[in-house]
Symmetry: C2
Subunit: 345 residues, 2 copies
DNA sequence: GTGAAACTCTGGATCGTTCCAAGCCATGGT
DNA sequence: ACCATGGCTTGGAACGATCCAGAGTTTCAC
């Protein structure tokens, strides 16, 4: 249009490539190259164009660029269901680092919402409208519906969580070895002199639950300790954690408990509170997730801390490769958690 | 182009408006109208076009639409700084409802990250590249930098948090009346028979802190109770909450404490834990924010619960109006919190 | 039966960017 | 002096949608 803009700084309509080109006295394409392939330009031309860009405060229009390149530089993330009344806010930490790492790689995160009852809801629309370049899927342990569906649509995605039910899945994934987590938690308690160490975990049909439980069993057996009468399986809620603790404390009188989640650990704390037992002195407790609750409850709950920051960064790395080479098939990455020791043990 | 696509369902390239038009035997514009202004079409034509749309699984390409209409249907939200070691994860609840409400209004949320040291970082790029239609600003109590800057750039935005330092600000905002929150918290304790009720709050230069404190003072004075020696001002951390509680419990021996945050309340709990005092029996405690920690710690901490869900919905409503009528100037909305009573009082 | 208004539908231009193929201009070997 | 070479730059076309002005069709009053 060649309509000269006053300053470009506070003007209502942002400057375009053509404006920059005119100011610098070059063609549109040269400006585009200056932005995307600076090494194609002669040094003096580049400098001139850069000056014009800075002067106008030019930023390429995202919609136009997306349209032409068929890439939005957006990564879709469906909001995990919010669980009130539990201790688990770890998604916060994950999302935070993910957004940060994605920004460094030139991607922004598109948060969307889907009907909690339908794990697929929301993906389709974004995919069809080419609104995002890829997805991050988070709740793979609830069954592989999302990943199989996305694969069938040839959508690009990475998952935080191994493909539990599809050993042949080819998408990149990152997960945390929580069997190992349960193992170091149990061994920590053994080192502290405990030998009657109970397990409070989730129902048998929870893949995650059985995974964690196996770590406890392995540690116990390695050290020649019996596990009979020491295991309990229940819902992931405070009240059922309390009920399980009540039962096991009455029956077997363990001196320490390993819980499959901080939520269950809080249930145990409720049981201890009622019995007027002192946490960390009369009974030791270890939780999972290293949630804010574990961090702040006096005297602090020892907890298995998943390396969410590292997981987020690994996922972004995988995404970059995936988007650079469409055929990219990464091996999954399994990360090891660490134990954060606090007053409860 | 008129290249016929095989099925449109699993094909790599999504169907376009032209594909639909060809299949339905109408022009592109007619399809566009079918999507955006269905009442302009004759009933039978509309049905025919709809059929074609369904058959091909057509969704308008977002980039193309954005380019032409200059609207991205994205709302920018800068990730609030993550505070580990505090009890405050309320942003989670807010963001969740916000994303949900925004989705209903046809908007998605673009999460971005900015240098924590620079409250403006990140906004500029998105604004210049016309990546978002508007922003939601959240931390207004840290000073009005973001809002004044956005206003000067003529950006559209709403804020969660009143314009503390600019009484003449014209953007829509929603906030929670936390002076009222402190008031009902204090009155709740008075009703339970307490009269020596201490306040543990933030430093004097914290606008939020003084706001909440005034509610406590008001309630105390209304009931003819003295506040001398009962107020304490400190950092928002567990350790300083504990220190403040230690000091005030030694000096004035209050029977109840109102804390400006759940984090401070947890500090108090640490102090009680050390002194072997029973929470809710020997000493009553009320917190702020109704965080997961307050919900889960035995026997539960009574806490002032901000209506984050309602706030998020109000903000989306304001956004819709703002984007519909650019000159829209809403009065701010002030919401009242409620008290969630638990075992700690 | 006729003209105008109302209703439907169409084709071309456009949003701002990148892709593509071709053009320009020095350089250098013959 | 000439043509090939390669580095830089250019104008036109395209991405997929909507805006706009106009064309075709129907409806209805006179």
């Amino acid at each position: 249009m060649a309509v000269p803009r006053s300053s470009g700084h506070i003007s209502a309509a942002p400057p375009t490539l053509a404006d920059v080109a005119e100011l610098a006295g070059v063609s549109r394409q040269t400006v585009s190259n200056a932005v995307n392939n600076p090494d194609l330009l002669r040094a003096d031309t580049l400098a001139r164009v850069q000056d014009a860009i800075d002067k106008l405060g030019y930023q390429p229009n995202r919609a136009a660029r997306s349209l032409r390149t068929r890439a939005s530089h957006l990564i879709g993330l469906r909001m995990p269901a919010l669980q009130e009344g539990t201790a688990n806010a770890m998604m916060d930490r994950f999302v935070h680092t993910f957004v940060e790492a994605a920004a460094e790689a030139g991607y922004h995160v598109l948060l969307f919402h889907g009907d909690p009852a339908d794990p697929l809801d929301g993906y389709d629309e974004l995919l069809r409208s080419t609104a995002v370049d890829a997805f991050v899927v988070t709740d793979t342990h609830l069954g592989g519906q999302q990943t199989t569906w996305l694969q069938s649509r040839r959508a690009r995605f990475v998952s935080f969580g191994r493909p539990w039910t599809q050993p042949d899945a080819k998408h990149p994934w990152v997960d945390v070895d929580l069997a190992y987590g349960a193992e170091i938690a149990t061994e920590h308690l053994i080192e502290r002199g405990h030998s009657k160490i109970a397990w409070i975990g989730w129902h048998k049909d929870s893949l995650l639950g059985e995974e964690r439980r196996s770590g406890w069993i392995h540690a116990m057996h390695t050290h020649g300790l019996s596990t009979t009468g020491l295991a309990s399986r229940t819902e992931d809620s405070i009240s059922s954690g309390k009920a399980a603790a009540d039962a096991i404390l009455d029956e077997t009188q363990p001196t320490a408990l390993v819980c499959a989640s901080d939520t269950l650990a809080m249930g145990v704390l409720h049981s201890l509170f009622e019995r007027r037992l002192r946490l960390g002195e009369d009974v030791a407790v270890v939780g999972f997730d290293d949630s804010q609750v574990a961090q702040t409850v006096p005297p602090g709950i020892t907890s298995v801390r998943p390396p969410l920051e590292e997981a987020a960064r690994e996922l972004v790395k995988a995404l970059e490769e995936l988007l650079a080479t469409p055929s990219y098939a990464a091996p999954g990455v399994m990360l090891k958690p660490a134990l954060t020791v606090r007053g409860s043990s």
